[in-house]
Symmetry: C2
Subunit: 312 residues, 2 copies
């Protein structure tokens, strides 16, 4: 399957990386999985940058919420539980210090709600623009985590919630699917899981890996105001995409409706053995492609869509 | 003792932070200390920003080395051993992707030398400037870590290596004092330890805390080309500052010379009970003070000194 320029760069960067006995799962999934004294641990870093993931004029508390909830969505995608957070702040000289007081209100609100302990942080000037990185540790109940790569030809593809149109507000206020992720990993034992941050268009090929896939576009669950193209390419859905063996799908759907009656779980397609995406499948966001760079100028709201490159 | 504006901002930001049973040591020391299933763990995040900690034209491999070695210096200051690293990259559109290939050569070189596993990372565009955050996990042999705040009136103050003039190259090529830190925590059982990144001028008051201190300025070990003022305010020394009970000082010095014959360990002063710095003690770097901001323009090399604010 065609790789993005960004994925290729990452491959080049990570080449020659020495193997490590205590690294169960390295770069390439939603989180890294490491062996700890007591079992299995998750590690994740994520980030937001002004003008890419948020604007200066947006409520700093909502931006703080988003900064912590983005990597929480990755912990969710492993079926994990978050533990500690480290917050790294890059602050430009033209920003009032009070910005960070409000920003931390959002961080703390999310930390309380999802049981995260803010263990520490770091603060540095940078000449221009606000940027924040959040690193998280997590655990996996019973050591049972779900890889992105566990799908097999014939598996059915499901997504939680609705897709597209995140820019109208969802991208700042979303609730990471932590409960749903643990349920899908534990009770439902899905074969593969990932969170949708770059949009189904680029994220689904990452989950499919060496498999191919087909998608019934008419089945995509759309956020209010979003169309099919937006559901594929807008990004920032922070929903979970899972692959489920067909014989377990009916039971899973039934149990889901009892466990999460307010949240749709929608069958959108199937993994197959073609090793390819369907024809005209829209590529997603690629930080390092020229085409993507051009797209930066195409939004009227000044905000470039929030997509990320390297996962862990 | 007078607090910096940055320290006051951090206090305000962190106020209202809920306590956590598994957080042994929160923000305010070189690393956070957390309870893990198997014992005690260290967490640390640190960062570098273009124009603050390095320049675009400097060798990316050396910049990568520095990015990883900065938080390693904090692990050293707890008496710890590093384990896993997460690398977060903010990349401007005018930077060739090859920059990161070279940058990672420096990261990997440091990782191999100090036994760090690169567990994962994240990559995002930002409109201007390069910025990198590195988060680390670590362990402490026997669970014996050294706080910054353990010093008592009467303790003697020592520093490793030499101070000042880091800008001429040391700030990109320094070797974090991991072996020395473990020795000082384990064999020497010092009362307090921290790494010097903002310069003795601002870092020593942080170690002294509620104590006061006096320093024999003539005793400061100077890096080649550096003067006393530089040893206090240049920053980026990445040396260790320790407080030692006077009755143990002679034995410690003797054993140090056997263990680390090539590295000086110099007695520079004493903690006392005045609760104050000596008169005319030079304040160090403060990211959020107007005076510091003015200083940004005073360097002819275009590089603002690398000091950081929030530890842990």
């Amino acid at each position: 399957m065609k790789r993005s320029e960004e994925d290729l760069l990452l491959e080049k960067i990570l080449k020659g990386q020495p193997a490590s006995a205590d690294l169960v799962l390295g770069p390439g999934d939603d989180c890294a999985v490491v062996r700890t004294h007591g079992g299995i641990g998750l590690l994740k870093t994520d980030c937001i940058a002004e003008g890419v993931h948020f604007l200066r004029g947006q409520d700093p508390a909502r931006v703080g919420w988003k900064a912590l909830c983005r990597p929480l969505s990755d912990i969710a995608a492993m079926g994990g539980e978050p533990r500690h957070a480290l917050i790294t702040i890059f602050s430009p000289p033209d920003l009032a210090a009070g910005y960070w007081v409000d920003f931390y209100k959002g961080i703390r609100k999310a930390a309380r709600r999802f049981g995260v302990t803010i263990a520490g942080g770091e603060m540095s000037r940078q000449p221009q623009g606000i940027a924040v990185s959040v690193a998280l540790t997590g655990t996996v109940p019973g050591g049972r985590f779900v890889r992105r790569s566990g799908g097999r030809p014939g598996d059915l593809l499901f997504v939680t919630g609705r897709l597209g149109g995140s820019i109208s507000g969802h991208h700042l206020d979303f609730v990471p699917r932590l409960k749903e992720g643990r349920w899908l990993a534990g009770t439902a034992r899905v074969n593969a899981m990932m969170d949708l941050s770059d949009g189904l268009g680029s994220d689904l090929p990452r989950l499919a890996g060496a498999c191919g896939f087909e998608v019934d576009l008419a089945s995509l669950p759309l956020r209010k105001g979003a169309g099919i193209h937006g559901a594929l390419t807008d990004g920032e859905d922070y929903e979970l995409l899972v692959a489920v063996p067909p014989q377990r799908a009916a039971t899973l759907l039934k149990k889901w409706k009892t466990a999460f009656p307010a949240t749709p779980l929608t069958r959108i397609g199937t993994l197959n053995d073609t090793g390819a995406a369907p024809e005209h499948w829209p590529g997603g966001w690629d930080h390092f492609s020229v085409v993507s760079a051009r797209r930066l100028g195409q939004r009227s709201d000044g905000l470039t869509p929030n997509r990320r490159g390297q996962r862990t």
